[in-house]
Amino acid sequence: MQFKDLTKCEFFDDYLFKMGVLITVRKGKREELNEFFKTCSQQLSFQMKAMLYFPFLGDVKEVGDYLKSNGIALKQRLKIQSAFGEKKKVRKLKEEIMELLEAWQKEDVLKSPEERQKGLKRLERLNHKYFKKLFTFVLAIKSKNIPWAVSLKRELIKFSPYWNLTRGLDFNEEEDQKLRDFLLFSLELFKDFHKEDEGVKMLAEKFAQMGHSNEYKTIKSRNGADWSLTDLRNQFKNPFLKSEFFDFWYLMMMNRTSDAELREKFRQAISVRSLIKAKPGQMWVFEYFYPPQQILRKIILDKLEKMWASNAHDQRYVVLRTLDSASVKQSLAERDSNFKRASFQLKREFFSDVLSTGFSTENALYELYLLGDKNEENLWWLMI
């Protein structure tokens, strides 16, 4: 967001502007807004003031006391306190993940079987599917259990490209940098034991998709994850690669060739077998290509229904994306009346639910804003 003339206070009714101000303050950059606060503080609602000066508090009771002293009504206080409890769990999880990201890069860590066993037990308690897989990948390599590492590498490649939008941890720049370093480290570690070029390149590409900064692009460049159109066409000649990782190659070829060629290649790549074996994280691709064969459609729809019925937000989000295809939506609606409802209703419920988990807060608020939900109360999630 661009802050132009802050001193005019004229943007302040804008929901996105409020979000931007709160995010800036939360990131510890309050001084960048000094002029704004000086001139516009009179126009701030008491709720916005309470948010902007929300201190770091350790427990729910302290939060309750702060809110009470700032005139927040009981009903709302209870909601915010409950949200604080959820956010606290996410913060704790993030701390655990950051600790692992730093500790497991050290050479002398996970050296003995006992240490690795403790590490595995620690991961079993980690409530985050993606990071659990990522850390297990490193643990498997450090155990020199290469078949296990290879199988985890394949699972990581098949993970939903959208997981960050529903289970994201809102990393700051420093944390993001640490994650990038860990991703690079894990690829180097893997290459020490297993020099399989294509798989490493694919994983590097997948890792690079997790961030948008230039820092993440180095993951690709250092691992040669770059395919020319000819390379990509050749990948589609490899029956194993094209079928197992159909979504990956589809993404790589998108916008690089004609729709007709892309569709033709993809038609060849998917089969009953590849669809049966497909992981939920790969199903996003059917937003863009919905095969006409009934036998294939049945498998796809069975999977999408099962994913929607699950509690996993990353899986449900993939289904929501596929609903943007009118044909998929119609097919699902014929099976389940829930899908007859307007997409914006389904999305609004979904993102309200995501917001209540404490993960991917910024994205959930932004999506709700796009759907017309400008409830100022929701902005508390940014500050607690």
């Binding site: 003995s112 079987p113 006992e114 690795r116 066993q117 595995l120 498997a140 155990s143 020199k144 259990n145 290469i146 078949p147 296990w148 199988s151």
Partner: protein
């Protein structure tokens, strides 16, 4: 758990009679009294479960080293369902055996993959492949590695399709050899 049909097993692999027979062979011949026990490549844990349920062997401290993580659920579930003594310490390591470093074992046993890689065609299922076949040189390294992990006087049991493994070549003394249902069962002692 007494019937072998009760054991939880993964979809990709079913244990065979050799595991049950190895447990029986050990029950008849083992002189194990105390100390740490190691099962290598336990799969879903049949041998150990059978030993705990049906033998006189009184384990206190048992470690499993299994490379195929697809067995994790069935192995840990079968062990947890077993009526074991309260003080039994069980540890699971999902590692490559040759990289596994620990020592001081009184008893080690395994039922290795049935075929060598040079003798049969690979399975299209990568997990099944790891359970069915291994390289001959890796098997020999396993035997040497067992020797390095065992205490002097420690016992080592295994079964194999081939009956020409010589204890002496690996620094062991042969205590007993028996053929049963097409497999050979070995009882070796570390000198």
């Amino acid at each position: 758990m007494s019937l072998k049909d009760d054991y939880l097993q993964p979809d990709f692999y079913r244990f065979n009679e050799d595991s049950v027979n190895l447990a029986k062979f050990m029950t008849s011949h083992s002189s194990y009294k105390s100390g740490r026990v190691l099962e290598v490549g336990p799969g879903c844990g049949i041998i150990t479960c059978e030993l705990i349920a049906h033998s006189h062997l009184n384990f206190k401290d048992i470690l499993f080293v299994e490379r195929e993580v697809g067995f994790k659920e069935s192995l840990e579930s079968n062990m947890s369902r077993l009526k074991t003594p309260n003080n039994l310490n069980v540890q699971y390591f999902y590692e490559d055996f040759l990289s596994f470093r620990a020592d001081g074992f009184s008893l080690i046993y395994f039922n290795p993959p049935y075929f060598f890689t040079t003798e049969s065609r690979p399975s299209p299922d990568i997990r099944k492949e790891g359970c069915r076949r291994m390289a001959r040189e890796d098997f020999i390294s396993w035997l040497k590695h067992v020797h390095s992990l065992l205490n002097t006087g420690g016992e080592f049991f295994f079964c194999h399709r081939l009956n020409d493994w010589t204890a002496k070549a690996f620094g062991f003394t042969e205590v007993e050899v028996e053929e049963r249902a097409g497999a050979t069962f070995y009882d070796w002692k570390k000198n």
